[in-house]
């Protein structure tokens, strides 16, 4: 049908305010929340000087060092680098969940940029909240954040699992 073809051709046209994203979601991989993944499509390969180094400390206390591009969010980095933080980023960066909760050093925290009201509201509901907590999906990388450390807090599930193990 001609219309369908025309529409398909049109798909790349910018539509109002909507960011275009390709969403690939898998379900049923057994682990909690971990199946939700967003793949940012069409990301231009960026020059290496736009790269920012981030050290994540995972829930086992291990350091994972990766590079992200300026302008990406920390959630983008976790997804692009395929970091396996169980349950991280469940709502795909749409400010509905606070599972992308990260904890920073005081100095880094101050450089992270403005916190919106909506982020604060979701942070209120984050598990293990600290004074230097932020939501990873709301933090955009800039050159000045190069070398930053971001700690993934324990999740409720972790606590329960470790209790189960000791029991």
């Amino acid at each position: 049908m001609a219309l369908a073809a025309a529409l398909r051709r049109l798909a790349p046209v910018a539509l109002g305010a909507f960011p275009r994203r390709t969403t690939a979601v898998t379900l049923g991989c057994g682990s909690r929340l971990a199946g939700t993944r967003r793949l940012s499509a069409g990301t231009q390969p960026l020059r290496s000087d736009n790269k920012v180094t981030i050290h994540f400390i995972n829930r086992d206390g291990e350091k994972v060092t990766v590079k992200g591009s300026s302008g990406d969010t920390l959630l983008d980095v976790v997804i692009n680098e395929d970091l396996d933080f169980d349950g991280f980023g469940a709502c795909e960066g749409t400010l509905a969940c606070s599972t992308c909760h990260l904890i920073f050093d005081e100095e880094v925290y101050k450089k992270l940029g403005r916190v919106t009201d909506e982020e604060m509201d979701m942070l209120d509901l984050a598990y293990g909240l600290t004074e230097t907590s932020r939501l990873g999906c709301q933090i955009c990388l800039t050159k000045s954040l190069d070398g930053m450390v971001a700690r993934v807090p324990e999740s409720v599930t972790d606590i329960r699992q470790s209790k189960d193990e000791t029991a």
Binding site: F18, T23, R32, L33, C91, L95, A96, C97, D117
Partner: protein, 534 residues
């Protein structure tokens, strides 16, 4: 839309929500005849569970040991004393009497109620990737019958996740929704005009009778502007007859829907004997779908015409969905239908309550007015970007929803075995999350019965309220997808109303109490005066 509360199509036997008809009562009688004697009552379905081995002092208790009202007491409460409209109050009474976690039984359905913010947090934080609210069989059955798709409310599992992934990328991020600011503001213009017309019809020249009627039209118009990318004309003075018929039909549908949503509670085999609820259920859905079909098809035809003319296609949500084909046309119909249903009553009730509370608390209203004057002055129209500078407006919406959480209880079906508050809850248990109780609990909100905006105003960005006590839109991946749209509609309209009018109680308004009619709604008409500032 009573619908959401209908976590329940099936478990509504319990918390239901609106006036049950007599026929249903018969059904319940049959359910209970067999169970009416002895202590088999209520425990037959609680599987004999051996809780996991744990240390003696932290012994996990079984459901059998969980306190709760007896089935008979529940029956009397709900049917004899019409508990359905007081469900929110009963929730409060039961949580006081039986504690923060208790079980109730409604017919064959066992429900574990949770009225504790930490337990709620535990449930919601450990959700799986596609949480379930309740049994949606009757919704699905209708859709299968008519060859329609499920939408976000009724879909489950992979279908749900796929549609949710598409839609949340369009209408959940605050900055994406802020793009609708001008569209919503046009509807607010009409709301203000309509108020000015309506009040001239009263002898005092100030009163608007039954403000919910007005806010219903506002919410419907605003949601349609976003969802259907068109104006319906609900707020016009000279509403074209055609549109009037439409509004009337929709009103009827919304109200009849509430009384028929329980159709699903009646076992299929009884339908030949009591056909009416199921028929009305289907009729209501037919009407709701028809409305969306008309508007989606209209937009689709426009796009087609534009393409044939070689024009560039520009548009919002619907255009995006139609052009990118991330969902099928049937899925678009279904989601447009379910979102309209979810988005109108919820928002209008909250606006009615908010303006009522403002009228009851003139001092608070003055504070907000002062904030608006400082930030915007008397004439500047508020936009989405201004809201961050209006903390009291945000607080007003939060405090209103704490007082009157539109969804006084919500549901979840557990998808794993879990230990909750010391009890072993087997997979597949229907939970009722008692938001009304936690919102009005002094432990969560000191002097909970006081209307106080300062609870929500932060001193700085590290000032946090650790609180699952009031989560009127839910929390997590299955929370309200229309939250940001609803907030935008409410922030923009409330700011404008307070900027323009002094809102006062009309002498013809009594003390208005909440009643549950699916949603927590005003139990009597709220009549308010809108007096020009200056």
């Amino acid at each position: 839309m009573a619908v959401l509360y209908n976590f329940t199509s099936a478990c509504m036997k319990n918390f239901g929500g609106s006036s049950f008809n007599r026929q249903l009562f018969c059904v319940f009688r049959t359910f209970h005849k067999s169970a009416a004697s002895g202590d088999v009552l209520g425990i037959s379905e609680e599987r004999a569970i051996t809780p996991p081995d744990v240390a003696e002092e932290t012994r996990v208790k079984s459901l059998r040991e969980m306190p709760g009202p007896s089935t008979l007491a529940n029956l009397i409460e709900f049917f004899w004393r019409d508990g359905f409209s007081r469900i929110h109050e009963i929730q409060l009474e039961h949580s006081k009497k039986y504690g923060k976690i208790f079980k109730s039984r409604f017919g064959p359905q066992l429900v574990v109620s949770i009225a504790d913010r930490d337990l709620l947090a535990q449930v919601l934080r450990t959700e799986s990737i596609a949480p379930q609210r309740g049994n949606m069989d009757s919704w699905k059955e209708y859709r299968d019958l008519r060859g329609r798709s499920t939408g976000l409310i009724s879909a489950e599992g992979e279908d749900w996740l796929r549609m949710r992934s598409v839609l949340r990328q369009l209408i959940m991020r605050p900055r994406d929704v802020a793009a609708f600011s001008d569209d919503v503001n046009e509807v607010v213009d009409d709301l203000v005009k309509r108020i000015c017309v309506l009040r001239t019809q009263q002898s005092d020249g100030a009163t608007v009778l039954n403000v919910n009627d007005l806010f219903f039209k506002y919410a419907m118009e605003a949601v349609a502007a976003i969802l259907y990318e068109c104006r319906l004309g609900c707020l016009e003075s000279e509403v074209p007859q055609e549109t009037q018929d439409y509004i009337a039909a929709l009103h009827l549908m919304f109200s009849s829907f509430k009384t028929t949503m329980y159709a699903g509670a009646i076992p299929k085999w009884l339908r030949s004997i009591i056909p009416k609820p199921w028929e009305e259920f289907c009729d209501s859905w037919d009407g709701l779908f028809k409305f969306s079909l008309v508007h989606v098809d209209k937009r689709f035809a426009e796009i087609k015409a534009q393409l044939e003319q070689g024009e560039e296609v520009r548009g919002g949500l619907l255009t995006h969905l139609l052009v990118t084909k991330q969902m099928t046309l049937e899925e678009i119909y279904a989601n447009a239908t379910e979102m309209l249903l979810a988005g109108v009553d919820t928002t209008s009730f909250t606006l009615s309550w908010a303006t009522y509370l403002l009228a009851l608390h003139p001092h608070v209203q003055e504070q907000i007015f002062t904030e608006i004057m400082t930030t915007l002055g008397p004439g500047r129209v508020v936009t989405a970007n201004d809201v961050q500078h209006l903390p009291l407006i945000r607080a007003l919406v939060k405090e209103t929803l704490r007082f009157f959480p539109v969804l006084p209880a919500n549901g979840r079906i557990t998808q794993d075995d879990l230990v909750l508050g010391g009890y072993f809850i087997p997979k597949g248990t229907q939970l009722a999350m008692c938001h009304y109780s936690t919102s009005l609990d002094d432990e969560n909100f000191p002097e909970a019965l006081d209307f106080r905006l300062d609870r929500w105003v932060r001193k700085d960005t590290t000032d946090h309220v650790d609180n699952f006590g009031s989560i009127p839109f839910g929390y997590g991946i299955r929370s309200c997808i229309g939250r940001r749209i609803a907030e935008l509609e409410m922030h923009l309209s409330l700011t404008r109303l307070i900027q323009k009018f002094h809102i006062g109680l009309s002498p013809v308004t009594d003390d208005v109490k909440a009643k549950t009619h699916g949603l927590l709604c005003p139990g009597a008409p709220i009549n308010l005066q809108f007096i020009d500032r200056e």
